[in-house]
Amino acid sequence: MTTVSMTVNGKKVSADVAPNTLLVQFIRENLRLTGTHVGCDTSQCGACTVHVNGDSVKSCTMLALQAEGAEVKTIEGLAANGELHPMQAAFKENHGLQCGFCTPGMIMSAVDLVKRNPNPSEETIRTELEGNICRCTGYHNIVKSVKSAAENMGG
């Protein structure tokens, strides 16, 4: 067991973990933040996407120990002071989710996408979200949600 410490959603956390513990396991099992999901075992589906030091990362591809000292943000930390993040609000407004399982990862990826592309075209959105699989929506309303959020975020 090794001690790992990081800041998650603004809170300092620390735990003893086996060295092979993935960041997603640390988030789900140690911190009980279950909004971050596991949808595959090959780092393809993106349901586990979180932000590490401001960048979107598939938390199943990273050991918890690699996030030592990092600032981690999960879906639970996205809304501020009870106000939904514009990306969360846009997914609701545009019916960008159905079963909701891929949604946290999709939203975390989309927030990072808009940060890097403040005014993304449909093509950019589709290319950028290639690493997040949704089986319900056919992506149509996800693309619409991201476009609308980008506008609301002042892009």
Binding site: A47, K92, Q98, G100, F101, I133, G138, Y139
Partner: protein, 783 residues
């Protein structure tokens, strides 16, 4: 007067708040105090005898609580998994249903078959212990391809099914069809493969079993589309516990698409083991296990022939299909290539005679069962591909050929030669709408432009029909269904005026919490935020048949309407008493009860309060305001429409680009158009996946699954798909009180045929799905 957030309004979904904030409750998010973890040792062989299993080393491994094999379950009196729909072969014999133990007893029959269940303190310890189990296998030669499995000399998979034949079934009038073909001016012939698919809901299956030694009650939390049916089967056939001692809970479920209808070995083993070890036990599938064990869909090989007269009118249709059932018969597998397939072969067309025969067989592959559309996409694929092929043979525009043969809109009720009675429809209107949306007449000019750029362009349509809300119970019972296909609902007013609705339908993405609340809002005038929809728990909901076959609104929604009718009837009596009028004079609209011809009125909330505080109340009336209803529909519903796809293909690479998609669907009345559009988008995306990208592949020699992860099985991603243009027409369904038909499967039914017709139109040759760049390139460049 209309109601805010009532029927027809694009209400934003109530359930979204928890999903977008990470507060959903999916199964793997749940944990119980004292919980142990389960892990399945699975067969590495496609077909092998089990000569012995040595657990000694594994049982001594750190953290192991216990390890179970198939013998343990048999010794404990646990029965096998069942198929709930009986099919009768041409010769009058029942379909072959070989034993299907949750854990293998003497043989394994597909890669991934369950061999042992390890329960340990941690998942890692369970996995490590599983590696120490010694299984003595005698490998046998497997067969994965259905045509080969049914051929003479194939490996024999089950003793009980000679020649691997499960059933040899027929539907329609063979003699009449032969006569029609004898008179035909033209016969079009087509061979088709409907590729095997893996459903892939994003949430992997999971189960958490909990045993209460004090009460003897077992609770199974599971990823199910129909928890009551799971309880019924586990109780009646597996003898895991009596129904009154077994609770099944399906919390937030992350997609199903059919694959979570079935009762799986992992669920039955987990709940049984929880009792054996007297601790909560949790099992969560990983994606690799999902590819190996979630029931697959489709896998048909079909020969079809269509007879037409000199005028382009259809005279007869003959279809012969081989359907792959996999290694075992899954819960509703036998219904899919029969009564959900053969019965839809008339499509939207007036076809005087039809004959269909289906041979279903066993192979050393994962079981095949219902996947979004279930039989109806397969039927539509056959009908709509041959319609395009015949039009080409006859030198007719494919849409004109269809329009010429549509069942006319004044012909309802229309009885097809394959035992369906279509109740309402207007196929030409939907087709013409789709043609207008995509500017069908402008295609020639667009094609010329593509050609000038060195590209091939194609357009293809599919005019699909489906039968949803599978019912009534007596009819499906006569066709072999082992259950009734009604639905239940309870509408319960709380004394303060809020409402709790209990439904036997189950939402795993469909948005019932919103749609069903809209019905209550509309009919009873209750604010939508004061309506809570409860589903997925056998201890809360009276009973339920669950969600599949696009049945939730047509059957489950109608049950809610029936319960609402009882609420209104009782409320009128209370209103009459309170306002000193006769019941006949009470009028009701959207939750306001008034005395005809006066300005006296009471709201539903006031009446509900009076029912719970009955100080001034009719003497002969029970207090309280909660009503139950069980609703058995009068008929199936028949959603139908036309989808048109336009593609551009680069002959140098074989890459197909979908440049436009137009859909005109008739779903009858619509409660929430936003949700309906989303259902169509998702269905079309899965249909495009089938046509362009997806296909489960086995190595024929070893029987190994080659497409066992997202690295090998090509899921549609955002950059594979276009945006869609969709619209609806409306012929209200006459057989349910909401006039609704169901929309969940339409896209997946229509899309494969539309897209493949567009590709064939572009390249001028028939190819099978998935139309990968390699396959398309070869078709273009091989002459």
């Amino acid at each position: 007067m209309s109601v805010e957030n009532g029927i027809g309004a694009p209400v934003r979904r109530k359930e979204d708040q928890r999903f977008i904030t990470g507060n959903g409750h999916y199964l793997d998010d749940m944990n119980k105090v004292g919980q142990a973890y389960g892990y399945f040792l699975r067969s590495p062989h496609a077909f092998a005898k089990i000569k012995g299993i040595d657990l000694n080393a594994a049982k001594a491994a750190p953290g192991v609580v216990d390890i179970f094999t198939g013998q343990d379950m048999v010794a404990d009196g646990i029965g096998g998994l069942i198929c709930g729909w009986g099919i009768t072969s041409k010769d009058g014999t029942p379909h072959k249903a070989p034993p299907h133990n949750s854990l293998a007893v003497d043989a394994v029959r597909h890669v991934g078959d369950q061999v042992a269940f390890v329960v340990a303190e941690t998942l890692q310890q369970a996995k490590d212990a599983a590696e120490l189990i010694e299984v003595d296998y005698e490998p046998l030669t497997p067969v994965t391809n259905i045509a080969k499995a049914l051929a003479p000399g194939a490996p024999q998979i089950h003793e009980e099914a000679p020649g691997n034949l499960c059933f040899d079934w027929e539907l329609g009038d063979k003699a009449a069809t032969d006569t029609a073909f004898a008179k035909a001016a033209h016969v079009t012939k087509l061979d088709l493969v409907n590729n095997r698919l893996s459903p892939n809901p994003m949430e992997p299956r999971a189960a958490l079993g909990d045993y209460d030694a004090g009460t003897g009650e077992l609770t199974l939390y599971t990823t199910s589309q129909n928890p009551h049916v799971a309880r019924l089967i586990m109780s009646a056939f597996l003898a895991i516990a009596p129904e009154n001692k077994l609770r099944v809970v399906a919390p937030d479920v992350g997609g199903g698409f059919g694959s979570k209808i079935f009762v799986y070995a992992e669920e039955t083993t987990t709940i049984w083991a929880a009792k054996k070890v007297n601790r909560p036990v949790k099992w969560t599938s990983d994606r690799s296990e999902a590819f190996l064990t979630d029931a697959h869909g489709r896998d048909h090989v079909t020969h079809a022939e269509l007879a037409t007269d000199a005028d382009g009118k259809i005279l007869g249709f003959k279809v012969s299909t081989k359907a792959n059932m996999g290694a075992y018969l899954s819960t509703f597998a036998s219904a899919v290539p029969t009564y959900l397939y053969g019965t839809l072969l008339s499509g939207q067309y007036k076809i005087p005679s039809i004959y269909c025969e289906v041979q279903a067989g066993f192979t050393n592959t994962t079981a095949v069962d219902a996947y979004r559309g279930a039989g109806r996409p397969e039927a539509t694929y056959v009908v709509e591909r041959i319609m395009d092929t015949a039009a080409r043979d006859l030198n007719m525009d494919p849409t004109e050929f269809r329009l010429k043969n549509f069942i006319p809109s004044d012909a309802y009720p229309y009885e097809t030669p394959v035992i369906m009675t279509y109740d309402a429809g207007d196929y030409a209107t939907a087709m013409n709408m789709a043609k207008d949306m995509i500017d069908y007449s402008g295609f020639t000019a667009r094609k010329a432009k593509s050609e000038a750029n060195g590209k091939l362009r194609g357009i293809g349509s599919a005019a699909y029909i489906e039968a949803c809300g599978i019912a009534p119970s007596a009819a499906v019972g006569s066709l072999g269904a082992g259950v009734g296909l009604w639905e239940s609902a309870e509408v319960r007013f709380n004394p303060t005026g809020s409402v709790t609705v209990f439904t036997g339908s189950h939402s795993h993405g469909q948005g019932h919490e919103t749609t069903f609340a809209q019905i209550i809002s509309d009919k009873l005038g209750v604010d939508i935020n004061s309506v809570e929809v409860v589903h997925g728990d056998t201890d809360k909901v009276p009973f339920g048949m669950g969600t599949y076959g696009s049945r939730s609104l047509a059957v489950g929604g109608s049950a809610i309407v029936k319960a609402v009718d009882k609420i209104v009837e009782k409320s009128k009596k209370i209103a009459a008493h309170l306002m000193e009028a006769s019941v006949e004079d009470i009028e009701h609209e959207h939750g306001v009860f008034s005395v005809a011809g006066t300005d006296k009125k009471l709201t539903m909330g006031e009446i509900a309060f009076a029912a719970y505080v009955p100080h001034n109340y009719p003497a002969d009336l029970e207090p309280g305001m909660a009503e139950n209803a069980f609703y058995d529909p009068l008929n199936f519903t028949f959603p139908a429409g036309t989808h048109i796809a336009e593609v551009e293909i680069d002959p140098a690479t074989g890459v197909v680009e979908i440049v436009d998609w137009a859909a005109a669907d008739d779903f009858g009345n619509i409660i929430n158009p936003m949700i309906v559009e989303g259902q169509v988008h998702g269905g079309v995306a899965q249909g495009i996946g089938q046509a362009l990208l997806e296909g489960v592949q086995y190595d024929e020699e070893s029987g190994q699954l080659l497409t066992g992860s997202y690295m090998d099985y090509c899921m549609p991603r955002a950059d594979n798909l276009p945006s869609f243009r969709i619209a609806t027409t409306n012929t209200p369904c006459p057989s349910n009180p909401l006039g609704v038909k169901g929309c969940g499967e339409a896209g997946a039914i229509a899309a494969p045929a539309a897209l493949m017709n567009a590709i064939v139109n572009a390249i001028g040759r028939d190819i099978d799905m998935p139309a990968t760049p390699e396959k398309v390139w070869r078709a273009i460049n091989t002459h």
